[in-house]
């Protein structure tokens, strides 16, 4: 087993063993508390720029397959686990975590005290770090880590967005049949791809949306010219303030057609409404966060993955009201503007990974576009 190091910007060093591709990788080190769904996490473009540490210690147990992907490739800058399964077991699993990471050139580390790392990040806030399995000179690596640039202000969306527009055709997953073909379309949606998770597309498609995905830099006029019934703003990596072009486009779309945003899309919406976003100390990354729907009082268990948040007071002037609140820390999880026929959530109703409690939000989007659907509760 080849040794590897994880070195944090603050100078703390964790010694473990190399996992996946060898070499060096750097990024903002965050922790994710979901116990399953590592393949979805690896392939979620929102993790661009980040080294993801899984708090659940046993990762790779059911292998990786061709289905459980949220985009065309893994995006994480690095991957940290306590113990990677050498022999995965599942009727769907094809390759082991190590094989997958190696094949995709993702640098990882295993065998470190991931709980100590998590406590460090929780107590001191997330920070940049690097994984190295070639160079093991701690002093040099510490110095390198000190020079890392951080996530704030960097446009990571441009690294993950699609180059060209395309139409999505795959529906929701079913264990017996895999992904269903698209339902007969009843409305047209244009989705801004800031790093969109495929399950968002699958959810909308299975409800009868014909979804055209466009690059994040597409001007509003081009999108509006497509005469969509609604516009969708996707999740994506990094700092919302670093993508002013997208904020600008959204501002020009709001009020013209119904708009629904998720995660980064929610933050973009907040900025477009003239509000403020801020960085959380260690973000929300997991599948167990309680969110209250302020309209019904109902609590949803949600999938979350964000490091920034919208200050709800900052958008109140523009007529946006909070709709959902995080019960752990009281942060804003959703907002809407009835006047603009727009709403957004900070968390992930498409789940994948995570619970399906919030899938009703896609129905709400269809309602907003004038397409009534039957909502099945809780997934």
């Amino acid at each position: 087993m080849k040794p590897a190091l994880l070195v944090l910007r603050s100078g703390r060093v964790f010694r473990g063993e190399a996992l996946g591709a060898e070499g060096e990788a750097w990024g903002e080190v965050i922790f994710n508390t979901a116990m399953s769904g590592y393949q979805e996490i690896l392939t979620d473009p929102s993790y661009r720029g980040q080294i993801v540490a899984m708090t659940y210690p046993l990762i790779g147990n059911y292998g990786l397959n061709d289905e459980d992907v949220e985009s065309r490739r893994p995006w994480v800058n690095g991957f940290v686990v306590k113990e990677a399964a050498r022999v995965p077991s599942s009727w769907r699993g094809r390759v082991s975590l190590d094989e997958y990471l190696t094949a995709h050139g993702v640098v990882g580390i295993e065998g470190i005290d991931t709980r100590a790392l998590t406590r460090h990040l929780r107590d001191r806030g997330v920070e940049d770090g690097l994984i190295s399995s070639g160079d093991l000179d701690e002093a040099r690596l510490r110095e390198k880590a000190r020079a890392l640039p951080g996530l704030v202000g960097r446009d990571l969306v441009s690294e993950v967005t699609t180059d060209a527009r395309f139409t999505w055709t795959q529906g929701a997953w079913d264990p017996a049949r895999g992904y269903a073909p698209a339902a007969a379309p009843s409305c047209r949606v244009v989705a801004y791809d800031a790093g969109i998770k495929l399950n968002i597309l699958r959810q909308m498609t299975s409800l009868g949306c014909e979804v055209t995905v466009v690059p994040a830099s597409t001007p509003a006029e081009e999108v509006l010219a497509m005469k969509p019934d609604g516009i969708f703003l996707s999740n994506g990596p990094g700092d919302p303030e670093a993508v002013p072009y997208l904020v600008d486009s959204v501002r020009r779309c709001l009020g013209r057609v119904p708009v629904f945003g998720i995660c980064l899309g929610h933050q973009i919406m907040g900025l477009a409404a003239g509000g403020r976003t801020y960085k959380l100390p260690f973000g929300h990354h997991g599948a167990n966060h309680p969110v209250k729907d302020l309209a019904t009082g109902h609590v949803e268990i949600t999938a979350q993955n964000h490091g920034f948040a919208v200050d709800p007071a900052s958008v109140a002037r523009a007529g946006w009201a909070p709709t959902h609140v995080n019960l752990n820390d009281g942060t804003c999880e959703g907002m809407s503007s009835p006047d603009l026929a727009a709403f957004s959530v900070q968390y992930h109703p498409e789940a994948s990974p995570g619970p399906h409690d919030a899938s009703y939000l896609f129905h709400r989007f269809l309602d907003l576009m004038g397409k009534t659907t039957a909502v099945t509760k809780g997934g």
């Binding site: 922790f31 399953s36 769904g37 708090t55 022999v87 005290d113 264990p175 609590v299 752990n328 990974p353």
Partner: protein, 1067 residues
């Protein structure tokens, strides 16, 4: 929603005695519920027949009834107390069934009692297989193909469509009672008949086999606002076919992808809503076909279950406590997560460790029992371990079981054919056979083929086994190897075995290398939030996150997994010790590994270490905590075994010294002690070989009592009547405790037996209770019924017993608890044994007299005098309490229900009343012996008893009972002028025999005293049939006498109920 204000008084029903399938997990849930409801200002009325529970402590509820758990008795309590609500979901299947009975017979409606938590239709839908199936189909979920049969014929028709192997699940039974797997058509009819007989409603579900499928459980909670959360997922190491209580289980689920897990989660959420469980926890089981992922629902428990207790301990989420609060109207988001304090209870715990639970069986007590694991639970206890990896948790749980196994070892050599057999049929040895197969080089694929155990688990075991040679070669020389071994959970002792050295050397080597255990917190949230409750486990990682406090502190060693002879009674004592320490301002540190218990609730102590109770693991904690001392006297044999090694390692033992324990246990030293004190003992000798045993037996004269030293629960103890038996039993006794000598004593026939529990501070001794056994000497005190105060002893005898106890306690320097067993024969008192530690009867005595002995003992350990309580010793109590044992024979068809000096009972009940006969009656009803008031009694006694049985039979006949007997006994009864229905012996083929009569329901009561020794096998069938047909039976003359007294009381009149608080006030 805030809590309800329209109800003030709530009735809670406990789960009764500990039986297989229902153990202390319901004391844990009930205790949590009591605390939660009283915290909210509700008045709690509690009923439970089990005195060994924390929940029945008089401080836990406003009114505590230790009364039989029957609809009639609970109805009486309802009439007396008039609660507005009944919370039925926290008392196991017993509590739930009782609530259903009271709802169905109209009692609840008559007294205006509302079922909260789960309403009757929800319970019925979850419990009735056909309603459940229809409900699942209505929400689009699949069950295994099946049909419900009410007769063997119907069952045959169904199995024709579902195929073999066929699964049989009787309706409304607990622990899978009566369930089985018929692999071939030839086995089917008998299995169906058994299942139908066991079901209280005479119904059995015949099911498509999902044997070998992956098995999962989800613990689900719902509140009145329809919020639903999953607390924990559990994956079974043993695939479908083995009852989950008998399975090794792992939390969280290991081999489900998120898509597959979420599909299961969606199903669980849909199920709890469709069934309509309003609030609280439910447990839902699923099976997944390993090659296709097809998922079927197996069953749902609409209540808190054994798995809920496991899930609570595995996650830190107190399911029962939250369930109680939801039942009175709160919603999940209104309740706080105790551990983080800042975040709400409306979330799903996430783990950053792996939890493995492993069952503990008691087959050594029932050698004739079939050890095959099936859908009917057979284990008596369990241990749980927490590690950062599955490997670590698995190895920790193996040593937590205290079976003198320190790793994945089979402990006997087997050939290939035997190994194949061990892999093919699930038994308690299968896990170790898997390891053995890996050692023999069998591939994961081959082992999977034979066991259907998921390859992921098998690969983990293969990794561990493959590392053993590396350990053997290099662990002591290479720090990296030793560190990995520790990270993978290898015990020092196992490393010592592999490297051919001692545990001490391994410990020294690794400490020298700086490899020491660190402790991490169970915090529900994978460290996302700060934890405020020190609920800890050890691992070998970088960071120790739980520095000790600067307070004065004491470590209490718990009692580990439940087993026969060591169960909830000892957990009760440990919990009391923790309470007493906290009251005294001393930090209470608990160490235990039993997930069912109150002691492993993080609320019970100041700090909880969920760790194996081995020398290594305990010393790790002690070295870190540096306590004032360690308490070993409350947890039974488990901590006692550690006393000497810990003391030798420099750890202060609080209270009675390990040397005093040795003095009481070592035959020679003990005899010398008795001689010094002028006390009597049955003559006997210590032997180390069969040769010596023969000589001693000949010299003493048969019968003799053979027993190993240093065992609990009378393990391998036997009364031996001749040379031939001696050979067999001496061999067994040597096998049971190979390092210790055997004791051979003259057996005191027809002696009365008495148990005394006392507490001492070193100067003053206070006797808490003198308990007279109902049965004569020869039956283990844990199995014998007993009465407190004594019902036949004279005042002078009681005084003498007290005086002897005082003398023994003083001479041994007892500080804390002491238990002495005496025999009285021809007015002479013999000391049978002295146990300078907590005994099984401590909770019973405490409840009976209203004095918490274990707390007093704990205070004595801290130096407080017991003299202020001296008056309790002679205080007259105006009531009498009877303890009766409860046996697991119904789970082991083929095992003789006969009793002897080796303990067989799993639990106990208490009957309390001003009238001894009524107290005894209550104890019988509570233990499941529903005494008849009319019908026929079958009488069959050994020759020695024929004279006394005549007067008993006369009494029964006078009460109106018919008498049935075989020739020998009949002749005696007829000579005494009674008319007897003569019946053929079983051996005589012609005509109806007693078994036929019993099976046809024509015998209401069985009086049978078995012959001594081998001859008793002849009447075993009678006892087995009584057990399977639930016919009350008595196997001693003393038991028969007491039973007849109880029947007289039953015939004469009204029974009454009274709360413990009233009894204690009246005392």
């Amino acid at each position: 929603m805030p809590k309800r204000t329209d109800i003030q008084k709530i009735l809670l029903i406990g789960s009764g005695p500990i039986v297989i399938g229902q153990a202390c997990e319901f004391d844990y849930s009930g205790t949590q519920a009591c605390k939660a409801l009283r915290e909210e200002g509700f008045e709690v009325v509690l009923v439970n027949s089990n005195p060994a529970t924390i929940m029945t402590d008089p401080e836990m509820a406003d009114r505590t009834y230790i009364e039989p758990l029957t609809p009639e008795v609970v109805a009486q309590i309802i009439a007396r107390e008039r609660p507005q609500a009944l919370l039925p979901t926290l008392g196991g299947q017993t509590g739930l069934n009782l609530a259903v009975a009271l709802a169905e017979d109209g009692t609840l409606e008559r007294f205006g009692v509302e079922l909260i938590g789960a309403k009757l239709p929800a319970i019925q839908t979850a419990e009735d297989r056909s309603l459940f199936k229809a409900c699942m189909e209505s929400i689009g979920l699949e069950l295994p193909r099946s049909g419900l049969a009410h007769s063997v014929e119907e069952a045959q028709a169904i199995v024709a469509t579902t195929g073999f192997p066929a699964i049989l699940r009787p309706s409304f039974t607990l622990g899978g009672m009566g369930g089985s797997i018929a692999r071939r058509p030839a086995d089917f009819d008998a299995a169906a008949r058994w299942a139908l007989a066991q079901s209280p409603v005479g119904a059995v579900l015949i099911e498509e086999s999902v044997l070998g499928w992956k098995e999962f459980e989800l613990e689900v909670m719902r509140d009145l606002a329809d919020n639903v959360v999953i607390i924990c997922s559990i994956e079974n190491f043993d695939p479908m076919g083995v009852h989950t209580g008998d399975s090794i289980t792992v939390a969280p689920a290991q081999t489900l992808s998120d898509k597959e897990y979420q599909r299961m989660r969606d199903a669980a959420v849909a199920i709890i809503r469709a069934i309509g469980v309003e609030t609280g926890g439910s447990n839902i089981q699923f099976a997944v076909e390993p090659t296709t992922g097809r998922m079927v629902v197996i069953e749902m428990n609409p209540r808190v279950s054994r798995s809920s207790a496991l899930a609570s301990k595995a996650t830190g989420f107190p399911i029962a406590k939250i369930a109680a609060k939801l039942a009175v109207g709160y919603t999940l988001d209104e309740l706080r997560n105790d551990i983080t304090r800042e975040t709400p209870a409306s979330f799903e715990p996430t783990l950053d460790y792996c939890v493995v639970k492993m069952p503990r069986w008691a087959f050594e007590k029932f050698p004739e029992a079939d050890r095959t694991l099936t859908t009917q639970m057979k284990s008596v206890g369990e241990a749980m371990a927490i590690g950062r990896t599955f490997k670590e948790a698995l190895q920790k749980v193996i040593r937590s079981l205290e079976e003198d196994r320190w790793g994945l070892t089979l402990d006997r050599s087997v050939d290939e054919a035997e190994l194949e057999r061990l892999l093919g049929v699930p038994t308690p040895e299968r896990l170790f056979a898997v390891a053995e197969a890996c050692r023999a080089g069998w591939s994961v694929a081959r082992v999977h083929e034979m066991t259907a155990i998921d390859p992921w688990f098998l690969a983990q075991i293969a990794d561990l086994v493959a590392f053993e040679p590396e350990i053997a070669r290099r662990a002591l020389a290479d720090r990296a190897v030793l560190r990995r071994a520790k990270q993978w959970g290898f015990a020092d002792r196992r490393i010592a075995q592999l490297t051919g050295t001692t545990e001490g050397t391994v410990r020294q080597t690794r400490l020298g290398d700086g490899i020491r255990a660190v402790f991490k917190t169970v915090d529900t949230c994978a460290a996302e939030f700060v934890a405020h409750t020190p609920y800890l486990y050890s691992t070998y990682e970088e960071e120790d996150e739980a520095p000790p406090t600067a307070r004065r502190k004491v470590v209490i060693l718990g009692s580990g997994p439940n087993r026969i002879g060591q169960g909830i009674e000892f957990d009760y004592c440990c919990v009391h010790a923790a309470f007493a320490l906290r009251e005294a301002g001393v930090e209470a540190i608990m160490v235990n590994c039993n997930p069912e218990t109150v002691s492993t609730d993080y609320d019970t102590s100041d700090r909880l270490y969920f760790e194996p109770l081995t020398f290594e693991d305990v010393l790790n904690i002690v070295e870190k905590e540096q306590p004032l001392g360690v308490v070993v006297q409350f947890g039974g044999q488990t901590p006692l075994k550690l006393a000497v090694p810990l003391q030798e390692a420099g750890v202060p033992i609080l209270g009675t010294s390990p040397d005093a324990i040795d003095r009481a246990e070592d035959r020679k030293r003990f005899s010398a002690l008795l001689d010094d004190l002028g006390l009597c003992q049955a003559p006997g000798e210590t032997v180390r070989s069969l040769e010596q045993a023969r000589g001693v037996a000949a010299q003493l004269g048969y019968p003799v009592l053979v027993r190993p030293s240093y065992v609990l629960g009378g393990r391998a103890m036997q009364i031996v009547h001749d040379d031939q038996d001696l050979v067999q039993f001496v061999a067994e006794a040597i096998a049971a405790a190979p390092d210790h000598p055997l004791l051979i004593d003259k057996f005191l026939e027809d002696a009365l037996e008495v148990d005394v529990d006392a507490v001492s501070d070193g100067a003053t001794v206070v006797v808490g209770g003198v308990m007279e056994h109902i049965e004569k000497a020869g039956i283990h005190s844990g199995d014998a019924a007993c009465a407190l105060p004594p019902y036949s002893l004279g005042e002078d005898q009681i005084r003498a017993l007290r005086a002897q106890t005082h003398a023994l306690a003083r001479a041994l320097g007892v500080v804390g608890l002491i238990n002495v067993q005496f025999a009285i024969r021809n007015d002479r008192i013999y000391v049978l044994e002295v146990n300078p530690r907590a005994s099984r009867t401590v909770p019973f005595v405490s409840k009976a007299i209203g004095l918490p002995l274990a707390k007093l003992a704990t205070r004595a350990l801290l130096g407080e005098p017991v003299a202020p309580y001296a008056a309790f010793e002679t205080r007259e109590v105006p009531h009498i309490a009877v303890k009766e044992a409860v046996f697991p024979f119904i789970k082991f068809p083929g095992v003789d229900a006969v009793l002897g000096p080796e303990m067989k009972s799993t639990g106990e009940v208490m009957g309390i009343d001003p009238d001894f006969r009524k107290a005894y009656l209550k104890s019988q009803i509570a233990s499941g012996s529903i005494l008849p008031t009319a019908g026929k009694i079958f009488v069959s006694v050994k020759n020695r008893d024929k004279r006394v049985v005549a007067s008993l039979a006369r009494r029964a006949a006078d009460m109106g009972f018919g008498l049935v007997a075989t020739a020998g006994t009949a002749r005696v009864l007829e000579r005494h002028g009674m008319s007897v229905e003569l019946i053929a012996k079983i051996a005589d083929a012609a005509g109806l025999n007693v078994i036929d009569l019993m099976q046809h329901g024509e015998i209401a009561l069985v009086f049978n005293t078995p012959e001594d020794g081998r001859a008793r096998k002849d009447s075993a069938m009678i006892r087995r049939t009584a057990v399977s047909q639930a016919i009350p039976y008595y196997l001693t003359i003393d038991g028969m006498q007491a039973a007849l007294g109880a029947i007289e009381a039953l015939l004469k009149g009204e029974s009454s109920v009274r709360s413990l608080q009233e009894y204690h006030r009246g005392a």
